[in-house]
């Protein structure tokens, strides 16, 4: 049984819920503008976006070293998330970057990072197989999972294994032999371009090196043929358990941190009925009863915490330096953009929360609202955030009574450190 469409028009708290989950957050005016719309129309509007991004003041190619270039690149992405008219596109790119994982510890090339992010944006609403094909073929993935070293007769299994374990079917749904045969099929997939430490600004492009490809017969996930890389990515992406894993990722990203077998089964069915079409699946998900019935059940990631505060306050006037600081803050909060701790990516949920990250979230909230703090506050905004409403920050029309006698900045600070803001 697929997801159940919701038919009643949106109230203010429904609209706040939708925008908290799809847009990192929104101002009170943006929320109220959706009141009375059908869930279907509201979702459809969010799911239309171009691939072009805003002009950026960041010039990573002019950096003196790859490390600095990556910092600028991350800050540029953070700025896009804060300012874009299409936040769902960035939210999806962030989600897929946590599925088709790469890491800037190995991928130190700007064109590879730029191409990777463009692929995730451009295919965010494609068929999942097309997204997987495009993502796996990026020079970033080639480099991160060592497939440029995977040659006929000299296998490197890294991409072959993670394609099955993490990108598609999931553990338990393939054999060691599938890993090895998949690695054979992926031989010859590599990238062109300089790769030395000083060449971080030079272009890298995917290429197929036929001389290094093993053209022999392979048996993969129960099928036999002279498979190449495209064939096995299609087979892996079309594996029945891939549907469950994609549904699981969407559920975790948009519905709840907590497992819900029945809900995920419905979402899997919706995905299957669409033939793996991500736009149709998301349209159904974001206008379903299941989506609107689930409130305050996802712990905000560091990015959602920071971008959410700024978007809810309607901030458009932040300078470059501050974006760089905030981007470094995301790393200290546990979410270094495009550099998760392992190839599995961030598990999220309660794993975002521990003593140190809670303390740092409070410190960041203070710096954003109360301005220049004494001590070690490392995220200074020139001006404090203007006061967003309880609807914008907490998703509720009612301000907590404990905050009644405080000034605007103090009220905003305490809302940002409340459990209610930490949840979407």
């Amino acid at each position: 049984m697929p997801l159940t469409p919701r038919t009643t028009p949106l109230t203010a708290t429904d609209a706040a819920h939708l925008l908290r989950r799809t847009s990192f957050g929104a101002t009170e005016a943006q929320i109220r503008a959706l009141v009375g719309q059908t869930p279907q129309a509201a979702a459809a509007a969010l799911l239309v976006f171009p691939t072009t991004t805003l002009d950026t003041p960041f010039k990573p190619a002019e950096a003196v070293a790859p490390y600095a270039a990556i910092k600028l690149f991350q800050a540029a992405w953070l700025r896009e998330m804060v300012l874009t008219p299409y936040p769902l596109r960035e939210r999806l790119a962030l989600m897929w970057s946590n599925h088709f994982v790469i890491g800037t510890d190995k991928v130190k090339n700007l064109s590879a990072l730029d191409n990777y992010l463009s692929v995730l944006r451009g295919h965010a609403l494609s068929n999942f197989t097309d997204l997987a094909l495009a993502a796996v073929k990026t020079p970033a993935v080639m480099r991160y999972l060592d497939n440029d070293q995977n040659k006929k007769g000299k296998p490197n299994e890294n991409l072959g294994r993670e394609l099955l374990e993490l990108y598609t079917a999931g553990i338990g749904n393939y054999s060691e032999s599938d890993v090895k045969e998949g690695a054979r099929a992926l031989t010859g997939w590599t990238f062109e371009g300089k790769r030395g430490p000083k060449d971080f600004a030079d272009p890298q492009t995917f290429t197929f090196n036929a001389k290094q490809h093993d053209g022999g017969s392979k048996t993969y996930l129960g099928k036999t043929g002279n498979f190449g890389g495209d064939d096995i990515v299609r087979l892996a992406a079309g594996h029945p358990s891939t549907a469950e894993r994609v549904a699981f990722k969407l559920w975790r990203s948009f519905v709840s941190d907590a497992p819900d077998a029945a809900g995920q089964a419905k979402l899997t069915e919706t995905y299957r009925q669409s033939g793996g079409d991500l736009r149709q699946t998301l349209q159904a998900l974001l206008s379903s009863q299941e989506f609107y019935a689930s409130r305050s059940s996802i712990i905000r990631s560091p990015t959602e915490f920071v971008v959410g505060a700024l978007r809810s306050a309607g901030r458009t006037d932040i300078d470059k330096k501050t974006y760089l600081n905030l981007s470094g803050t995301l790393a200290r909060l546990g979410q270094d953009l495009l550099h998760p701790p392992t190839v599995k990516g961030w598990d999220g949920g309660r794993e975002w929360i521990n003593d140190s990250t809670l303390l740092l979230r409070m410190q960041v909230a203070a710096a954003m609202t109360l301005g220049n703090q004494k001590g070690k506050a490392q995220t200074k905004l020139a001006d404090p955030v203007p006061e967003p409403s309880a609807l914008a920050l907490l998703g509720s029309e009612k301000m907590p009574s404990a905050l009644a006698k405080l000034g605007s900045a103090q009220r905003t600070y305490l809302m940002l450190v409340s459990p209610e803001y930490q949840l979407i």
């Binding site: 374990e165 546990g334 703090q373």
Partner: protein
């Protein structure tokens, strides 16, 4: 933080205690024991064969023409085994009988996924059914969420418990809350409002953090550094561990990680650097413990989720394997090699066959060092090398 701020913070911490579950109230009193186990996780699958090297074995050199450690570089320990040259800083502990290597450690039906395998080491459950970690279960047995802490950014599964989450401390210096003036009362009121679901979880986590940070900051002044630590994040974490132990915070298990050891390509450069970071950090840590007069009270136990395949791959790296080595370090450790050298002529799918279950290694630490019932924590009785003296 000045003294006045600290007093306010203590008052805040006390004021939130009233809403705490019962298990926290009895925590400190029952923690007991004055010995600490430090667990080092080598993330990413450390290559055991290039860590403890079977340098007399021709099969080792035959399988690894490019990445083997040359005989002349090996730090000989026995007639057959020696350490990677990057581990030189640990030689003096071997000579003093304070460094032990545990051979061929693994678990049934090895899993070559980093994450499944790491989860097995964390939960001590090769069936992958358990959702809590073995150190989380220690904390629940003792009844104190502060009796085990991770030093790092994220709490590993090993420290997840059913009732509560154990602290992760990214750095001891920043482990303190400074609440802006005038906000103590509204914050306390806001925090104490009744909640359900994930909001209740976040509320409890915040309250617990207030208690933990106040406790640590109160005890920090007892420590004076007794060693010069190398300039690495790992060494800084070890120094934070020394500070926490010297502060008398009552933690029984402290945990930190170093990695990534996922050396699919160009292994030598990557692993060589990581092993040096490991050895130099640990040597400073041991020297510091000596100065603190705590060397008898602390043992270190290091592991990785799996070793790597015996044969190198064509990228001068190694793919995921099975059994590997563990190490133990400390004045109370029985130095030497525990177990047989790997049989490189009899492999399982190209990998070393494990001979000793890692749960036996944990069990010995639990029963002998931490004075806890390993059967209760590991869900069964496991035998292993007797690596404590």
């Amino acid at each position: 933080m000045n003294r006045r701020d600290f007093l306010k913070l203590s008052a805040l911490a006390v004021s939130v205690t009233s809403g705490m579950p019962g298990f926290l109230a009895r925590a400190a009193a029952t923690a007991g024991g004055d010995k600490t186990l430090v667990v080092i996780q080598l993330t990413g699958g450390n290559d055991g064969l290039n860590t403890l090297i079977p340098y007399s074995n021709g099969a080792y050199y035959a399988a690894r023409p490019n990445i083997a450690i040359g005989k002349k570089d090996v730090l000989n320990l026995t007639a057959d085994l020696g350490m990677h040259p990057s581990l030189r800083a640990l030689s003096k502990f071997w000579d003093a009988g304070q460094l032990g290597w545990l051979e061929n450690i693994g678990y049934p039906n090895p899993n070559r996924s980093h994450f499944a395998s790491m989860a097995i080491w964390h939960t001590a459950d090769p069936t992958q059914a358990a959702s809590d970690g073995w150190i989380g279960r220690i904390a629940e047995t003792i009844g104190d969420p502060f009796c085990a802490s991770n030093i790092g950014n994220a709490t590993p599964l090993a420290l997840q418990a059913k009732q509560f989450s154990l602290p992760s401390i990214s750095s001891v210096d920043s482990y303190q809350l400074k609440l802006p003036a005038g906000l103590h009362d509204p914050f306390t009121t806001l925090l104490n409002a009744p909640r359900q679901g994930e909001a209740e979880y976040l509320q409890a986590a915040t309250k617990q953090m207030l208690l933990n940070t106040a406790k640590v900051q109160k005890n920090l002044s007892k420590y004076r550094s007794g060693a010069v630590y190398p300039d690495s994040k790992f060494a800084a974490s070890l120094q934070d561990i020394a500070r926490l132990i010297a502060g008398g915070n009552g933690q029984r298990v402290l945990y930190t990680s170093l990695g990534s050891f996922d050396t699919h390509a160009g292994q030598r450069a990557e692993q060589d650097d990581l092993l040096r970071e490991l050895a130099e950090g640990l040597a400073a840590f041991q020297a510091d413990l000596d100065v603190q007069g705590l060397a008898d009270k602390v043992v270190v136990m290091g592991f990785s989720e799996f070793g790597r395949r015996v044969a190198e791959n064509a990228s001068a790296g190694t793919d995921h394997g099975q059994g590997s080595v563990m190490f133990v370090l400390g004045k109370s450790v029985k130095g030497g090699i525990h177990g047989d050298s790997p049989d490189l002529e009899n492999l399982a799918d190209g990998d070393i066959r494990y001979k000793q279950d890692f749960r036996g290694v944990y069990a010995h630490a639990l029963d002998t060092w931490l004075n806890l019932d390993s059967k209760e924590i590991l869900g069964g009785k496991f035998d292993g090398p007797k690596w404590l003296s």
